[in-house]
Symmetry: C2
Subunit: 691 residues, 2 copies
């Protein structure tokens, strides 16, 4: 077994495996193609597109499909920029004005006469996305006959945040150490970075921040001469795939490495220092994306130290980057992380909204606020953050977490696309019905200049990138959803499965079932009814009902012998519900209309409270935990049934993780059920075993 | 302020400060002494004794009190070996046969005619202990007129265990990093080691194991040529103070550093390897003490791996050391540390007894079992270990923990001598009434060849050795109690206070009060009624009621909405009480006779159970926690009242710690009370604030 085969068998090629197409009609159709032609551009990115197309077709057809000098009589693929090539303009006579492809869109068209497939775009990036689209269509078994489509990304920014540290560790990383750094230096393995860029580009990702938002000592120097040449090498790799590079910065950098005595954003010498840094960066990396900033958050430095606010802090950086078209992405994950657990009035859920909404209109045009999808922190279930869309004059983007910090850490399967879809489809009603989150983050609701998606990546140096092979579907799905939030979770799963495992319908059906059920199963055996946490402190893996109950982190459940939940109502609680527009406000405020799955997030109720489902809270806890474990066990059984139908190394690695999940789910079940049984004294109606 | 003054002011000199004696009768008495004479010995240890006496007297009298060649007419101190010096034999005409001073004892006698004070001994170690006794008498304000006493240590082994690692860290160390090692090398600061040896010798300590019982990679090599020369240097320092050096060894050393494929104690090549190590060690350190061994305990390697038992494991090592008079000290802290919390039948408290009692009679004569004072792990309150004395044919020593792992980590004051006294005075009834623990560990109950005290040290490189200045009293008290368990806790406290703070009666009274109340106060605001733990996992600092409730460590409280406690009875529980002889067994077994302070250790009871005190369990929990906090606050107030009466730097450092304790005690109170209030639903009779 050679190295390439070994990699493929362990999942390294992920969804770019380019499995050989079985003999038959489809293979016949593509066998006719003689090669690939590039028209009207000589940009590196266009050549990347042609090379990727060649590589993919060659893999799927088992023969070299080359990039040709000129289109001949035989059918071929033509990639070309509109308005610059007679062949392309001949195939798209309506022209860009009518197609409206924009900065990253593309059109695909099959010309029955010549048999040619055209990929037309108004940009080289569009050609790359078009090429990957064609490959995805072929790879998922579709015919290209009669193809005639136009595609534009719905979101401008489609970004990943790497929480990688230069020592090689990854904050909240569950798939091995960093592919970017080791031992406080940049990696020597640039091939792996290139392969990562390919994976990302193929899903539509166009931006990446390559270091942890918690910026430690050495990473503070990424914006200096000492490390910028290395950053530039990485930027070049990602540039070849249409991905802009960003850096997370340390707000205290002027103090820590600049020799200044302050980092006050209103201090001219501080602003000058950052301008100088920006100039230096853009001399080295002319298309540098900008800064990602975690400031005044979880003990990180920020403008508060100097009595300044977030707008002061962000705008100063934005001015430094403005001449070069750079962006400041400012995270809104700001709350009091030294809360007193005795104080029930302070509500972490309120914090981001309370901090930022008063600043609406004060941020410069090249500042974007990055808002986590929920008000707490990437829990298995929380409401949508009311800050999203609540600042009509301010650019916003949403932040998801692909890495499964609170959702099983890639030891449990948890396909997150359905969760993200729920968030995106949530109607904020901020400008009346239809003010969905997806319209906020795509910029249309408030006509924002910049907007989009960000997410924390889930990859590391594990052979299959994500530790759990099935977690690849989250990375794939994130990119696809960022491109087009209208795609369905099932459809995305289906694509990923076909690209990785092939076209066996039984395989597809089983794996799609596992993925689609996985979030619900994980939710069942972990923290119930939207209450969140109940995990071990610090590493956040495994059950610990009181793990954060007496801590300073502001994440409580307030369970006593009578009931549980956080009263966030206006009437009797923290008033958090007031941050939502009607009718959401009333829906959450009122016990009778509050959705079951968020009940304990919004209300403190007795264990005997009857849910809309008809069950009491306590019986719901017992039942879901027994069910969740049973269903987790079923996942392993279902997977076992695929033995022989997929490659053994891929099968084995997932089987091992599913077995671990089934065992660990029991630990969750027993700790949670025992905790509530001991606390409430209410027996399970079915008399099942508790401790 | 010179360096010496600074050190003294911060507590570095501890109880060897040798404060100047105030003008007056006492000073007159000692001013008459011309010097010190050594008779009948030229051993280094005797010269250490003379030097220490000279140093102490010079300090207290403010003039050089020298070591003289010959006794003159003026009064002097005469140190001398019996039967070797006419002067000494003249002062002790009855001779050693009648005095019976043994290997470490001494006699002190004042000869009114000559005015001489004689320190006579049958060993050079005895002279050293005698010299320190004289200094202690003078330092605590006593006259030596008419002095005529004989002192012998009650316990043969009076040992400290350093849990120091060569990287400089100290397992369970709360006073800075190691004074023995830094950065994986031995310290260069041998002066500090010498000062430590002085402190220990002055209290009577005669043995020390200088590395952590958890022996990591580099420390495994302490028994090899690579590190033995360094070990020998340390041994020499301690030898000058009569302290034998021991090493903790790694049972898997033959595998890890010996190149063997096994560490099976019955394998001849393994035994040969250890014999070779012993030979090498004794070539380098002829008076090496022996090995301290933690085997098959908390994931440490041991004979179990090879299907052998503790006796096989210990005896093989004992054979290797036997030719040189070396000892094997084998720890009995053995239990299942991968327990399932659901399993209520497995009881960690039973483990040591169950493991070792069946092996009685199988251990070689130079093996000593080291048994922790309680069956769990150095909790603020637990019963006495039933293993102590339960092996009449086996040498045993008791293990205390001077370092305050579970008793406030030297941020809270907790004078442990009263706790140790309770343990030592406990009557096991193993050979009828009067079978006290102190008679077990001094070897008289079973006529053991070797026996004594061991304890985990509480010192580090902090200026005052112990972090909390008042924690010095624990180290001092441990040594004094090991010498003579009949000393009272108050008396020991009194000595320490006078030696450190001087003779102001108000100072003495206040500090003695603080020390004597401190254990009870700490117990009040932490885990109630003998249940133990309720601390944060791993570091063990601060409250966490369920911190170990669902873990594998076997330390549970089983609190539910009705009650709390561990049923360890024969009748309905784990049967642990059966390990005690009558009448202890029945006393613990029976709810009505079980002492309140151990109730939850032995019984699971409802919160409404009425204690012998007349209070319910729940009200006891509430009351003690409010009281404990109040009293902790009082300690700080009492200390504040000493301002101006003791040196400011000493006053300040303790004031800071007491303030921290007062605050942190509230965290304990609120978490514990809130936990039980939420769980039981029973209100406080006094309606005090809970959360």
């Amino acid at each position: 077994m050679n190295k390439t085969t070994a990699k493929a068998e362990y999942g390294y090629d992920a969804w770019l495996r380019y499995r050989s197409i079985e003999p038959g009609e489809r293979r016949e159709e593509f066998n006719r193609f003689s090669g690939i032609v590039v028209e009207g551009t000589d940009e590196p990115l266009a050549h990347t597109a042609a090379r990727e197309l060649s590589r993919g077709l060659s893999g799927m057809l088992g023969r070299e499909v080359s990039v040709l000098e000129h289109a001949g009589d035989a059918p071929c693929f033509v990639l070309g920029r509109l308005g610059r090539s007679p062949i392309i303009d001949g195939m798209f006579p309506e022209g860009e004005a009518s197609l409206g492809l924009g900065r990253e869109g593309y059109a695909l068209r099959h010309e029955p006469g010549s048999g040619r497939i055209a990929i037309g775009a108004d940009s080289d990036a569009g050609l790359l996305y078009g090429a990957f689209d064609v490959l995805r269509r072929i790879g998922t078994g579709q015919s290209l006959k009669g193809l005639n489509i136009v595609e534009r990304p719905v979101n401008g920014l489609r970004m990943l945040n790497q929480w990688d540290n230069m020592d090689g560790s990854i904050e909240r990383g569950y798939a091995g150490s960093s592919i970017f750094y080791e031992k406080n230096r940049f990696t020597q393995n640039l091939e792996r970075l290139r392969d990562y860029a390919r994976l990302l580009a193929s899903t539509g990702i166009n931006a990446i921040a390559i270091n942890n938002v918690n910026v430690h000592r050495i990473e503070t120097e990424l914006i200096t001469e000492a490390l910028l040449p290395e950053v530039a090498k990485v930027a070049e790799i990602f540039r070849m795939y249409g991905i802009k590079l960003f850096l997370s910065i340390n707000y205290a950098a002027p103090l820590e490495i600049g020799g200044l005595s302050t980092a006050d954003p209103l201090e001219p010498e501080v602003a000058a220092w950052w301008r100088e840094r920006a100039a230096e960066i853009y001399r080295t990396i002319p298309d540098f994306g900008g800064f990602l900033v975690k400031a005044d958050s979880e003990n990180r430095p920020g403008p508060f130290t100097y009595g300044r606010d977030h707008a002061d802090g962000a705008n100063m950086l934005a001015e430094a980057l403005e001449p070069y078209g750079g962006l400041v992405i400012w995270r809104c994950f700001v709350y009091n992380c030294k809360q007193d657990w005795r104080d029930r009035k302070t509500d972490r859920a309120r914090a981001a909204y309370d901090h930022f909404v008063p600043l609406d209109g004060r941020f410069k045009e090249n500042v974007i606020l990055q808002v986590k999808n929920g008000p707490i922190d990437f829990q298995v279930r929380e409401p949508v953050s009311p800050l999203l869309g609540a600042m009509p004059l301010t650019n916003q983007m949403i932040e998801f977490q692909v890495t499964q910090e609170y959702t099983g850490q890639q030891h449990h399967v948890c396909y997150l696309v359905p969760q993200w879809k729920e968030v995106l489809d949530f109607d904020s009603h901020l400008k009346g019905e239809g003010s969905t989150v997806k319209r906020i983050v795509d910029g249309t609701l408030h006509a924002s200049r910049y907007s989009g998606f960000a997410a924390v990546s889930n990859i590391g140096c594990d052979a299959n990138w994500t530790g759990h092979l099935l977690a690849q579907a989250n990375l794939y799905g994130y990119g696809r959803l960022a491109w087009n939030p209208e795609l369905s979770a099932e459809g995305i799963a289906d694509e990923w499965i076909r690209l990785v495992f092939g076209s066996d319908e039984r395989v597809i059906q089983v794996i799609r079932g596992i993925l689609m059920d996985s979030w619900s199963i994980y939710e069942k055996y972990t923290a119930p009814l939207g209450i969140g946490f109940m995990v071990n402190p610090n590493h956040h893996y495994g059950p610990n009902v009181d793990g954060y109950e007496y801590s300073m982190w502001g994440t409580y459940h307030f369970a006593d012998c009578r009931g549980i939940g956080v009263d966030r109502t206006i009437a009797t609680g923290t008033g958090y519900t007031s941050q939502y527009a009607e009718p959401n406000q009333s829906r959450y405020e009122t016990l009778e209309t509050c959705p079951d799955e968020l009940l304990l997030f919004f209300h403190h109720v007795p264990y005997t409270h009857v849910l809309q489902s008809g069950k009491t809270v306590i019986q719901h806890i017992y039942d879901t935990h027994f069910e969740g474990v049973e269903q987790a066990g079923k996942l392993a059984e279902l997977w076992a049934g695929l033995s022989g139908l997929i490659e053994e190394p891929l099968h084995r690695q997932v089987a091992e993780r599913l077995a671990e999940q089934a065992e660990h789910a029991k630990e969750w079940r027993d700790q949670i059920n025992t905790y509530f049984y001991r606390k409430s004294g209410i027996p399970d109606q079915q008399g099942r075993r508790m401790y």
